[in-house]
């Protein structure tokens, strides 16, 4: 079920796809100016022609398809490989690179169960207020019981609900969205511009942040992404810029009247270290202070009541700033910050830093330098067009090389989502699960947290690491095995897997046949001979071949446990 094109929108979306695709192909080898002139013939025939040109590769066609489904998405579902083969891999990749053209009704419908996703910050602040401190005091003094409290302020109306719904939505999208690359990119950029839902007012702002600052630009222009994060209250709060003012500012009015304010370096540092130049990108402590000065006055209008971006001119430091060799003349006002966004987003160190991170995510823990060079060049030549950088990366020989194939270890999010997808699991929606619950998406998010990646709750601004070393350790491996056992036994609340459907017509009385079906549908023939041999050996174990109550009856394969062993196998930990 990769794409279910609706006839009415098909022509339009293919047109869009062909256009952007043509741009992409032209761009990876030519500078931006020649692109505009490149003819983009709209395709209106139902058989789309791929505009992405894939390199020669020693991988088999199935391997290439599995590779793309694992890297540009959260792994294949049953039947996906065949569907991609039919439409051709290049066409599939084209479509993923232009997600707006992919119909995604099923996932979109499921997300309607999470009302906070679509709300603005002022709306959630109004609808999900902090419980009255007086009520909290009454509970602590015993004057009011927890039960009364729950009636007055039910859990589903508390601010914590916002992050819960966002977590549930993330898993729902990773598992069910047809716009797989879009979801991978949103995850990548959220992590790059990390904020933590547990820091103060961020909990009201985090869903809006992902929806308005990250998602629209995930395959767009890096400058737009940087600016959108810089102006979003979630980032302003998380990295304290909302409180940063010119030196020795005395607040004239309001609740903070008389209070002395001043510069806060936090955002000035992290925008360069983590968002743009990289720690070795060539800036100094002086640059940090100057950037922080440029962003003074970029603040939030009443963070816990209204929560929208505001430039407060009296708080801005109007003096001259010198940043990375650029001079910002005095009196720049809000334009100072915009100028910094331009300087940083166009700096060659940014191109290299972003290219390196993308190549690490999509190709290998140790990014091939030649590919990083080319991706960084595309970034510079297209003024930071993320889609074009991605085309350079995923149509490269390095991406399709045997060295890159299955070289990445899945992150906790990836192992959980790909496991559910491999078994075609269904997520029960909140309404069906009984109102207060957040459904299967949330219980999967909790599993991701248990594996070491609590979503939207990474405290340091660095986000989560993207290399195997961070995820492979004894405790984490055990947790992965336990997740596989729980999932196949239908013990993860709100998530239903039907192994009968996965195994299909395979004769349960012949365990080896069942195993082979699992190996094909889950591992796509990627199991090593050793793994198959080990699994076959397990079949002689009377506990795996669950004997029927009547000992003399035919063998009845314990598909659950066998499927768990396959999901917990070393092969399935890789993508």
């Amino acid at each position: 079920m990769v794409v279910k094109p609706r006839t009415r929108s098909l022509a339009a979306s293919l047109c869009l796809l062909a256009f952007t695709g043509a741009l992409g192909a032209a761009c990876s080898s030519a500078p931006p100016k020649s692109q505009a002139a490149a003819p983009a013939a709209p395709q209106v025939t139902p058989t789309a022609r791929a505009s992405l040109i894939l390199p020669a590769s020693s991988l088999t066609e199935e391997q290439r398809i599995v590779h793309v489904l694992n890297r540009l998405g959260y792994g294949p579902r049953p039947g996906d490989v065949e569907r991609v083969r039919r439409m051709s891999l290049a066409v599939y990749m084209d479509r993923q690179l232009a997600p707006a053209g992919i119909p995604d009704d099923r996932a979109q419908d499921a997300l309607l169960a999470y009302p906070t996703l679509a709300m603005t910050v002022p709306e959630v602040l109004h609808a999900y207020p902090e419980p009255d401190p007086k009520v909290l005091a009454k509970i602590q003094s015993g004057e009011m019981s927890q039960q009364e409290m729950r009636q007055m302020a039910p859990l589903e109306r508390r601010p914590a609900r916002i992050a819960v719904e966002l977590q549930a939505a993330k898993l729902t999208r990773a598992v069910s969205s047809e716009r797989q690359l879009q979801e991978v990119m949103v995850d990548f950029w959220f992590n790059h511009f990390n904020v933590d839902a547990r820091k103060g007012a961020v909990k009201w702002m985090i869903a809006d942040y992902e929806r308005t600052a990250i998602r629209p630009h995930a395959l767009g222009k890096f400058r737009d992404l940087l600016l959108a994060t810089a102006q979003h209250p979630a980032m302003l709060f998380y990295l304290d810029n909302w409180m940063s003012t010119k030196a020795d500012l005395v607040v004239r009015a309001g609740p903070q009247k008389g209070r002395q304010m001043g510069l806060n370096e936090n955002y000035g540092r992290e925008i360069m270290e983590l968002h743009t130049l990289g720690v070795d990108g060539g800036y100094t402590q002086k640059d940090i202070i100057e950037v922080a000065r440029a962003f003074t006055g970029w603040t939030i209008d009443r963070p816990r009541e209204h929560g929208t971006f505001l430039f407060r001119a009296p708080a801005h430091d109007q003096g001259e700033k010198r940043i990375l060799g650029h001079v910002l003349v005095p009196g720049g006002g809000m334009a100072d910050g915009l100028r910094v966004i331009d300087i940083l987003s166009r700096h060659p160190s940014t191109a290299r830093f972003v290219a390196t991170k993308l190549v690490r995510r999509f190709v290998s823990d140790e990014p091939p330098p030649a590919l990083v060079d080319r991706a960084a060049r595309t970034f510079r030549e297209t003024d930071g067009d993320i889609r074009q950088v991605m085309i350079t990366i995923v149509s490269s020989p390095e991406f399709f090389s045997p060295e890159a194939y299955r070289a990445k270890i899945k992150s906790p999010l990836e192992i959980v989502a790909s496991s559910v997808r491999a078994l075609d699991g269904e997520l029960v929606l909140p309404a069906a699960a009984g109102g207060r619950q957040a459904g299967g998406g949330f219980s999967l998010a909790q599993q991701v947290g248990k594996l070491g990646e609590p979503l939207y709750q990474q405290q340091p601004p660095t986000g989560y690491p993207d290399v195997a070393d961070a995820w492979v350790n004894t405790g984490a491996l055990l947790n992965r095995m336990n997740f596989a056992l729980g999932l196949t036994a239908n013990h993860v609340p709100g998530v239903r897997v039907d192994l009968g459907r996965v195994v299909g017509a395979a004769d349960r009385a012949q365990p080896e046949k069942v195993l082979d079906v699992l190996l094909v549908s889950v591992l796509h023939g990627q199991a090593t001979p050793e793994t198959r041999r080990v699994l076959v050996a397990q079949l002689d174990n009377p506990e795996i071949i669950r004997a029927t109550a009547d000992d003399r009856g035919p063998a009845n394969t314990d598909v659950e446990k066998l499927a768990a062993l396959v999901l917990g196998s070393p092969e399935f930990q890789r993508r």
Partner: protein, 424 residues
């Protein structure tokens, strides 16, 4: 071999050299360590992630520039009998009032404090500074392993246990990465292949565990298989030792929170005699850029949890503390001056605590650089007088028995003459 497998190869290679097939690794180690005296020394490293404000944790109330620089976030001068002021230690330094649970340990001479301790590297990046402190190589990013892993590898009489090095948490910290095969666990209780409670109780576990174990036992030498083998050795041993049967003793009450949970379980592992030598725990929430508070407030709450956790551990372990050293660390300190938001920005030196029976405690250790502007590092931060590597080296060598010649900090030979002198 392509670019993706260097580290994996190293790990696999080391296992291959040890000649491991399906022989449990701890048995192999046991064979190597035969004849070595049973060891019981334990080092517990506690990382305060996010850069703790050392000037609030251990207040230099006697420094004439402290109150001027700190403004609204200064902690009040000690007033005898007033529990909301600095707790005086030696007339110059004092503990933050929320650190009161550690005062009895200071009085019992089991707590030494190394102030103005830190890294010679100038970075104020959390990520880089933590990395440098844990790899033990300030300024060098290419170091593959951690200082604690190197220390344990170099120790001649190391224990053979898979629980020789344990980190509490779902990720293995940089300090313990390397060929030592350290264990990371979120919780002792979760450290097993889970029993399928639904049906066939009892048999499912054995079965699934055996299946997974066989899968990871295969010949392929890579990071997954290596880790998988270590995992199952550890599961078997932990099952036999059953550390969860040990409840906190002597009335110890661990506070709620990650650090308390971690230390409580580390105490259980110590009591269960699983061969623990190095344990690692961490605690976040120290990056106080805004509204950090003074005697009370955000930071005070963190200090309360931090000190209550350490004090509970000490009480719980009782006499066993004679063999335990707790070493606290943080990547750097914070600016001496209060910033514009009643908080502090990234600074340089901070304070580190050394706690345990064998500690020369009740003493402030290391030089004090002063807080006058001209005494500050880059005109803004507390200067470093004790290189963290000298402190870490002293603890590794004198407590754990790591040879002084071991490459704890590559390119930086440890020199006993420079040890700050925190241990007997």
């Amino acid at each position: 071999m392509g670019w993706g497998t260097r580290r994996s190869f190293m790990k696999g290679g080391a296992l291959a050299l040890l000649g491991l097939g399906s022989v449990p690794r701890f048995l192999v180690r046991a064979a190597h360590a035969e004849g070595a005296a049973a060891r019981s020394k334990v080092l517990i490293a506690v990382f305060q992630r996010g850069a703790v404000d050392g000037l609030t944790m251990v207040v230099p109330h006697g420094d004439r520039d402290y109150y001027g620089a700190r403004g609204s976030i200064a902690v009040a001068r000690p007033v005898a009998g007033n529990l909301e002021t600095t707790i005086d230690l030696d007339g110059f330094f004092g503990l933050h009032p929320a650190m009161a649970p550690l005062k009895p340990l200071w009085d019992a001479k089991q707590l030494a404090i190394v102030h103005a301790c830190g890294s010679p590297d100038t970075t104020r990046s959390h990520f880089d500074a933590q990395d440098y402190m844990e790899s033990g190589t300030p300024g060098v990013k290419t170091t593959q392993d951690g200082w604690l892993a190197r220390g344990l590898l170099a120790e001649p009489a190391g224990s053979a246990s898979p629980f020789r090095a344990v980190a509490m948490g779902s990720q293995l910290p940089r300090s313990l990465r390397g060929e030592i095969g350290a264990v990371a666990m979120g919780a002792v209780a979760d450290f097993d292949v889970k029993q399928d409670m639904g049906r066939m109780a009892g048999s499912g576990t054995v079965n699934a565990r055996r299946g997974f174990e066989s899968l990871y036992e295969q010949g392929v030498q890579d990071i997954l298989h290596g880790t998988g083998r270590e995992t199952f050795d550890a599961v078997k041993m932990l099952k036999a030792a059953n550390p969860r049967r040990f409840a906190p003793e002597h009335g110890a009450q661990y506070p709620r929170g990650k650090l308390g949970d971690s230390l409580k379980q580390i105490a259980q592992l110590i009591k269960a005699n699983v061969g623990l030598e190095v344990a690692f725990a961490d605690m976040g929430g120290w990056d106080t850029h805004a509204n950090q508070g003074n005697e009370k407030g955000q930071l005070a709450l963190r200090f309360a949890e931090f000190s209550q956790s350490l004090a509970a551990l000490s009480r719980d372990l009782g006499d066993r503390m004679a063999d335990v050293v707790v070493l606290t660390m943080s990547e750097f300190g914070r600016t001496v001056r209060e910033n514009g938001n009643r908080g502090t920005d990234h600074g340089h030196a901070t304070a580190m605590l050394v706690l345990g029976g064998g500690v020369r405690g009740g003493r402030m250790v290391g030089g004090w650089p002063g807080l006058a502007r001209e005494q500050l590092y880059e005109g803004r931060d507390l200067a470093v007088t004790t290189d963290f590597r000298h402190l870490f080296a002293e603890v590794a060598v004198r407590h754990l028995g790591v040879p002084p010649t071991a490459p704890l900090f590559p390119g930086f030979p440890t020199n006993p003459a420079k040890y700050p002198g925190v241990l007997v």
